[in-house]
Amino acid sequence: MDHRLESGATLLHQTLKRFVRGVLIAAFALAFSSHAAEAQLLQRSLVLTDARIVTMAGPTLEKGSILVKGGRISEIGAKVDAPFLARHLKLAGKTVTPGFIDAWSSLGHTGSVGQSGPTGDVWDSFNRYARDDFRQALQQGVTTIYLAPGGPPGVGGRGVVVQLRPQSGGAAGAVLVEDAALSINIGSGQSPIKRLKTFKKVRADFRKALDYRQSLEDYEEDLKEYIEKLEERSKKKDEAGSDGDDQKNGDKKNGEKPAKDKPSPKPDEDKPDEGDGDALNSGSLWASFQPVKSGKNGDGGGKDKDDGNGKDSGDDKKSDDKDDEDEIKKPEKPSPDRTSEVLLRAIDRELTVRIEAHRTSDMLNALDLAEEFNLDIILEGATEAYLMADRLAEAEVPVILGRVTRSGVFVNDEYRRHSASNPAALTKAGVRWTVASGAADSQAARFVGLNAQVAAGRAGVDWMKTVTIDAARILGISRRAGRLARGMAADFVVWSGDPSDPGSIVEQVYIGGKLAYQAKGQ
C-alpha cells in the first residue's frame, strides 16, 4: 500500500512538475514565440500606439492606436484599452496604412499560354513558392492582389483574390475570394480585325450558354413529364396485372429500333448508292458544317430556339402517337457543358466579368455585351477611357487602369492613344476607377503604390485611396480589406514615414494580425 501510495505521490508530484513545466513552456512560448508559430487561439492581442494612422475609413488619426485581437481590429482610435499581456508596439513617428491592393495582378502567376477557358481557375497557376517576389511586394506595402488569369484573347479563366499571407513550409498566399471574376480579353494582343472576331466569338459563347440553359430547362420539363408517365404506367401496370407482357416486348423492339438507327451512319440498305453518293458529293461541304451547328447546341438543334423546340416537341408527340401509349420515350440529358455553366453564373450575376479593353470600339463592345447579357462588368486597361468617360459613368462601369506611364511611341496599337489625362478625365466624369499593375509583369505588382501616385497625381486625388479603399470596393472586398476600422481584418503596413515620401520604407507588414514582413534590422 505504502509503496503504491508513494508511487501515487510521485506520480502526483511528477504530474505537478509536468504541469508547471508545461505552464512555464507555454508562458515562454507566449513570450517569445515567433509570429509563424502562433496558433490563432494563442495569439496575443497586439496594441499599436502613437502612430499616425491613415485609416481610409475616416479622418487620418495623427496620433492613434489600434488594438488587434484574434487577427481583427477590435478597437481603433486615439486611445484604446490595452488588455493584460498584450504586445505593445510603440510607433511614434511612424505611419500605419492599410495594405495596398493590386486589383489586376500577375504576381506569382506561372504564365498562361494555353486557352483553358472559363473552366480554368487561376489559383492553379499560382506559384506559392515565389518567396522573393512576395517579399518584394510586401516590402512595398502590397498585401492583397487580384490574380488575373491572363491568357490569349477570348473568354479566359476565373481569377481569385489572394492575400500574401505566409504559410507553413516557405509557401505563401491564401485565397481571400474564390472565383472572384471571370476574365475576358477583347482588347490586347491582336490586330483590330481579330479583336472584332474575338468579340464575336465571346458573344457566341454567351449565346451558347443561354442555349444550354434552355436545353437543360427543356430536359427538366421532359423529365418531369417522363417520370409522371412512368408513375402512371406503374399504376396502370398494377391495375392491369400481367396481361401486357407480350405487348411490351414488341414495343421494346419497336421503340429501340429508331433509336439505334438514327445515329448509325449507314441508312437502310435499300437505297445505298444514291444516298452515299449524295453524302459524299454534295454533302461533304455540309458535313463539315453540320456537326458544329447541331452538335454543340445540345438536343434543341439550331439557333432558332422556337423553331427547334417546336419541331422537337412535335416529334415527340408524333412518336408517342405512333407507338403504343405504353412506350415512354426517355428524354435525353444534354451532355454537361462546363464552359457554359460558368458563363451562366456570369449571366446570373453570380460572377463578375472583367473585360480587358483598350480602344474605344472594344470598350463600347464590352458595354454592349454587358447590356445584352445583363453582366456585372469591370473594365481592365481602358487606355482610351478618357474619350468616353461620360459613357462609362453612365453605364456605371468601374475601371481598373494598368500601367500609367507609357511613352505612346513604341507601343502596340491598343496603347497608341494612351493619354496622361486618362485618370483626370475619369475622375471628372465620376467613373469609379483604380489603378493596378496591369498584370503584364509579375514584378510590377509591388509598385502598385507608385503607379497609383502617378495616376492620382494626374487626377488630383488622394493616391492612397485609389489603391486601398477604391480598389477594395471595385473588387468587392471592402468589408475585408482596404481600410482600418473596427472589425476589419488586421491587414496593415507600418511605414517609417509618410508613404508618399520616397525616403520612407516599409518596416512591418501585418496580415490578419500576423507579422508577414519585417524589414531587415528592425
Binding site: T110, G111, S112, V113, G114, Q115, S116, G117, T119, G120, D121, V122, D124, S125, F126, N127, R128, Y129, A130, R131, D132, Q136, P149, G151, G157, S168, G169, G170, A171, L223, Y226, I227, L230, R233, S234, K237, D245, K248, N249, K252, D326, I328, K330, K333, S335, P336, R338
Partner: protein, 569 residues
C-alpha cells in the same frame, strides 16, 4: 503473355500477376529456368537486325534461354551473336545452373548489416541464404567473388527511355500501356545492364496530363513480355503543364477528367439498370436519378470501357500513381488532386529539382518521391545577383522523406551511373545508408516490390551485382549481373566496352564505330557533308532500318529522353 489481356475482359489478370507471389513462381520456372537448351549454332537464317547493339543483351537472352515462343527469331539473333563473337557467347550459352553460390565476397545487402566476407546462395532464381556460414549445395555452381562486392541490383525508378516514343500527343490517355511501346532493342537497356540496373520502371514521360500504365522490366529479354517483372504498375499523371498547356489548362483538364469519369459512371449505371430490367423483361419504372442509384451496384469490373477502366481502378485505390511535379508550386496541387480523387494513398511524386522548396509539403504528405536526375538546383538571388546552389537530395534526406534517385542520361558520363548519383549524395552530406537505399530498396518499395527486389535478403529475387569495389567508388566496375539468379552480364564478355577501352581487335572496332555513329544521326549536324568521307563505313539495309527506329524518339523526347546511344561503362 499479358498483351492481349490488357483491355480484355479478364480484369484479374492485370493486377493479379504481379501482386501475388504465385505469379513470380510461374514466371521463374517457365521463363528463366531453362529445362533444355538447344541453341542451334549452325542455323543460318538471315538476321532481321544486325546491330552490334544486340551483342550483350542477346548474350544475356541466350543465357536465360526463354524458349516458350519466338524461337526462330531468337535463334536468328543468337546465330548473329555467335557469328560476330562466337567465343563470347559459347561461354554463356551453356545451361545456367539453377543454383549459384557467390562466395568470398563482401556483401552489402542494403537492408541489414554488411558482411565482410560471406556467401550469397541463389536457388531457382531466389536468394535462399546470405551469411558467413552458408552450406553450399552439392549441385550449386560456386562462383568465387572474393575481393569483390556483392550488391543488390539497382533500380531505375522512372524512365521513359525504353520506349520508342516517350509520350502520346493526346493529353489524357489512361488507356495506354507502355507494353506496346517498349522497344527491347533500345541501347539504353544495354547500358542499364552494364551499369548494374536490373529493374527499370518504364513509364511514359512527363509531357502528358494522364499518361498510360507503366511496368517494371528487366533490361534483358527479346519481348516486353520476357522483360516484365511486374505490370501494370502505376498510372502516370502530370500536374506540370504538358507542352502547349499552362498550369490552369493542365489542372482544369485533370479536374474535368475526373468529373467526366463521374458522369460516365452515372451513365453506365443507368444503362446497366436498364439492361437488367430488359433481362427481366420489365419496363423502366423509375426516373434517371433513382436508376443511377440502383445501377451503381450492378456495374461489374468488365463493364468499364477502355477509356475509363484504369481511372476507375485509380480512384478506387487499386492502382498506384506517379505524379510529376516540376516546380514546388505543383506539389500542393498534386496532393489536392490525389486526395480529392482517392488515389493519394498509393501515389509517388516525381519531382523536378526546383520542387525541393516544397519539402515541407512533401514531408507532410508522407508520400515517397522520385527526385530529378539533376541533383543540383541553381538559382540567382534577385537581390544580390549571387548564384546559389542547392543539393536537392540533401534537403529531402534531412527532412526524412523517402526518395529514389534517377540516372541522368543527358550528362556527359558520370551521372549516367545510378551509383555515382548516390555517391554524389554522400559527398554532399547524405548518409551512406540513405544514399544506398535511394538506388535500391527505396525505388523497390515505391513500386510495391519491396518484398521482392532492392536488397540481398533471403526470399528475395536474385537480382544481384558483383562489383569490383565499393558501389560508391567511381573506379568500381560492374563485373557480373545476375538477374533472377542467372548471370545476364559479364564484363569480360562485353565486346562494346572493350572496344571503347581500346582492347578490341581492329575489325570489330570499325563496325562498332559505325553503329555508334549511326546512333548520332538524329542530331542535326552542320558538318554533315563530311560524313560520307569518314572511313570504315558500310551501309547495309539492316542498319538503315535500325537507324530509323532511333530517329523518332529524339524528335519527340521530352527532357532529352533521347536514346542513350552510347556505352556508359
Amino acid at each position: 503473355m499479358f498483351g492481349r489481356t490488357r483491355f480484355g475482359g479478364n480484369g484479374n489478370d492485370i493486377s493479379g500477376l504481379w501482386s501475388s507471389e504465385r505469379s513470380v513462381e510461374r514466371l521463374i520456372p517457365k521463363r528463366l529456368i531453362p529445362t533444355e537448351n538447344s541453341v542451334d549454332c549452325s542455323t543460318s537464317i538471315t538476321p532481321r537486325r544486325t546491330g552490334r547493339r544486340w551483342l550483350v543483351r542477346s548474350t544475356a537472352a541466350g543465357a536465360i534461354g526463354c524458349h516458350r515462343y519466338g524461337v526462330a527469331k531468337r535463334r536468328a539473333v543468337l546465330a548473329t551473336v555467335l557469328l560476330t563473337c562466337g567465343v563470347t557467347v559459347s561461354s554463356a550459352v551453356g545451361a545456367p545452373p539453377a543454383k549459384v553460390a557467390l562466395t568470398g565476397g563482401r556483401i552489402i545487402p542494403v537492408v541489414g548489416d554488411e558482411i565482410a566476407t560471406g556467401t550469397v546462395l541463389i536457388e531457382y532464381g531466389k536468394i535462399t541464404a546470405v551469411g558467413t556460414n552458408v552450406e553450399i549445395p552439392y549441385d550449386a555452381m560456386e562462383v568465387d567473388v572474393s575481393g569483390k562486392v556483392v550488391f543488390p541490383g539497382m533500380i531505375d525508378p522512372h524512365s521513359a527511355r525504353a520506349l520508342d516514343v516517350p509520350n502520346e500527343n493526346l493529353p489524357v490517355t489512361p488507356f495506354l500501356d507502355v507494353y506496346d511501346a517498349i522497344d527491347p532493342s533500345r541501347l539504353y537497356l544495354e547500358d542499364a545492364l552494364r551499369d548494374g540496373i536490373t529493374a527499370i520502371h518504364v513509364i511514359v514521360a512527363n509531357n502528358c496530363v494522364i499518361g498510360g500504365l507503366s511496368r517494371v522490366v528487366h533490361p534483358i529479354g527479346l519481348t516486353p513480355d520476357e522483360m516484365t517483372i511486374a505490370a501494370p504498375t502505376a498510372l502516370k499523371i502530370s500536374v506540370t503543364p504538358k507542352r502547349g498547356f499552362d498550369r490552369m489548362t493542365q489542372i482544369a483538364k485533370l479536374r474535368e477528367t475526373f468529373l467526366e469519369l463521374d458522369d460516365y459512371l452515372d451513365k453506365l449505371a443507368e444503362e446497366k439498370y436498364e439492361e437488367s430490367l430488359e433481362e427481366k423483361d420489365e419496363k423502366i419504372d423509375v426516373g434517371p436519378e433513382e436508376a443511377i442509384k440502383r445501377g451503381h451496384e450492378l456495374i461489374e469490373p468488365t463493364d468499364y470501357d477502355d477509356q475509363h477502366r484504369n481511372l476507375v481502378k485509380l480512384t478506387r485505390g487499386d492502382m498506384s500513381s506517379f505524379i510529376y511535379c516540376r516546380s514546388a508550386g505543383d506539389v500542393g496541387h498534386a496532393v489536392r488532386i490525389a486526395k480529392d480523387n482517392g488515389f493519394f494513398d498509393r501515389s509517388v511524386f516525381v519531382l523536378g529539382h526546383a520542387s525541393y522548396k516544397a519539402v515541407g509539403e512533401v514531408k507532410a504528405s508522407g508520400r515517397p518521391v522520385v527526385l530529378d536526375a539533376q541533383l543540383v538546383h541553381r538559382e540567382r538571388d534577385p537581390l544580390t545577383g549571387k548564384l546559389s546552389e542547392t543539393f536537392v537530395p540533401k534537403v529531402f534526406a534531412d527532412a526524412g522523406v523517402m526518395f529514389a534517385l534517377q540516372p541522368n542520361p543527358n550528362a556527359s558520363l558520370a551521372e549516367r551511373y545510378l551509383n555515382y548519383q548516390a555517391s554524389r549524395c554522400v559527398r554532399n552530406g547524405v548518409s551512406r545508408q540513405t544514399a544506398l537505399e535511394s538506388i535500391t530498396i527505396n525505388p523497390a518499395k515505391m513500386l510495391d516490390l519491396g518484398d521482392r527486389l532492392g536488397s540481398i535478403e533471403v526470399g528475395k529475387v536474385a537480382n544481384v551485382l558483383v562489383l569490383t569495389g565499393d558501389p560508391l567508388d567511381f573506379n568500381t566496375w560492374v563485373d557480373e549481373v545476375y538477374i533472377n539468379g542467372i548471370r545476364a552480364y559479364r564484363r569480360d564478355d562485353d565486346v562494346r566496352l572493350k572496344q571503347l577501352l581500346g582492347d578490341e581487335p581492329p575489325e570489330v572496332a570499325e563496325e562498332g564505330d559505325e553503329a555508334k555513329g549511326s546512333e548520332q544521326e538524329d542530331v542535326e549536324r552542320p558538318g554533315k557533308n563530311d560524313k560520307a568521307e569518314s572511313p570504315g563505313k558500310s551501309h547495309s539495309p539492316g542498319d538503315a532500318a535500325d537507324d530509323k527506329s532511333d530517329e523518332k524518339p529524339a524528335e519527340n523526347a521530352p527532357g532529352g529522353d533521347e536514346e542513350g546511344g552510347s556505352v556508359a561503362p
